[in-house]
């Protein structure tokens, strides 16, 4: 079996990472996991929940990690959790109380109206389409990487990406909104 541990454990050769090392590696991944979870979620609190569940699962399943690319492994776990949660929540729609919550002003420079529109268009995507779009656009993964992470053919990655982009574009256009500069 090929052994390609992450950079951190590389120096230690075949010695399995100690608990401390593993947890520290996870800790260093938390910021990018947070960004990914938020890009999948409907609100900040929803995103933090998903992040917590993901970290929990990563720690519980640490024995299943094959020592290859911890980040990609954690992202795969996050994606699966997100899909499961979405399925569960759509069966019990009453849980989705924060459905209308939008992006917060983490990015205060942006136009809040525009951000709300963007969030709505994202919420209309299916979990499969949304996760592919985010892994590529936000997290910068290549098409083949995404295919490997999600265990789907690359053709499926491309068709999901294409569908996500077109649906977003249509949704954003549908609102028939024209932005004008303010008068003096």
């Amino acid at each position: 079996m090929p052994h390609a541990p992450d950079q951190d454990s590389c120096a230690k050769g075949a010695v399995p990472p100690s608990a401390d090392t593993f947890e520290n590696q996870i800790l260093s991944l938390v910021p990018s996991l947070r960004r990914y979870s938020r890009s999948l979620a409907k609100s900040d609190s929803d995103g933090e929940d998903l992040l917590q569940d993901c970290v929990e699962k990563v720690l519980v399943r640490r024995d299943q990690w094959r020592g290859i690319n911890l980040r990609a492994w954690a992202f795969t776990i996050m994606t699966n959790l997100y899909r499961d949660r979405h399925r569960r929540f759509s069966q019990h729609p009453s849980v989705e109380l924060d459905d209308t919550l939008g992006l917060t002003a983490e990015d205060t420079s942006g136009d809040p109206l525009e951000k709300t529109r963007l969030q709505q268009a994202l919420n209309a995507l299916s979990p499969d389409h949304r996760s592919v779009l985010m892994l590529i656009v936000i997290e910068g993964y290549g098409y083949q990487d995404v295919a490997d992470m999600l265990a789907i053919p690359i053709g499926t990655v491309m068709s999901r990406l294409s569908r996500a982009r077109r649906q977003m574009a249509a949704q954003l256009a549908e609102n028939n909104i024209v932005t004008l500069r303010r008068p003096k």
């Binding site: 947070r34 938020r38 720690l59 919550l101």
Partner: protein, 264 residues
Amino acid sequence: MTDEHNTVTEADLHAFVDGFLDEERRRKIELWLKGHPEEAAEVRQWQAQAAALKAAFSNYAQPNANDGILLSTARPSSASSMPWRKTALIAASLMLFLSGAAAGIYGDRLLSQSAPIENAAALESLPGQSKTAFLVYASEKRHPVEVGADQEDHLVAWLGKRLDYKLVAPDLKALGFSLVGGRLLPVNGKAGAMLMYQDAAGQRLTVLLGKNPENGETSFRFESAGNLETFYWIDGTIGYAVTGEVSRAKLQEIAEECYRQFES
């Protein structure tokens, strides 16, 4: 169209947008797009979309003071650690809050963290609420307003007080509309105000004002639904929406006039 041009696939266009092409291929696609305006427009849309997504989420990639707790309280040995981990998190935040509140430093920050969420939810519905208010009240014959234009001073003082804002009823006479009056109504779940105007033909339009939980400023937005047109924007602590069954050009003139006369 040459053979070479025919080899551009949709996957190439995605790779072009995502920056996965080598320089030579990228230039070829660029050239090809010049001859294919429809595809070029779509590619531009995708690029704008990607930029908007990056802008919206890149700031989240940050460590948080509680991240250590995420790890330290989730033990692989106890598969059912979730409830108590969450309890620990809540306890930790509560401790932070209490100690912060005691020192008087965290209160503001906690409040400002919760406000934007409310804000975003509220913003979403501003043009929607304006349209609803128009549909309900503009067609009303006997009681379109609570306080008529004959008591304008009382009207603006009363509504301004509820909004905690120095309200004026914009003078739109130059544009052919005069004030009918106004009413108090809920906007974004709080006290808001609606002003109504009408022209000589009895054509009405409404101006909705609602509290915007955080200070902000947006450009003008125009939304169209059937015959109904709405202009909306945020300025400081107030969100504004002007709705009417008039042309877009006319409504823009009216909205701009309102913007000029409203104090931010």
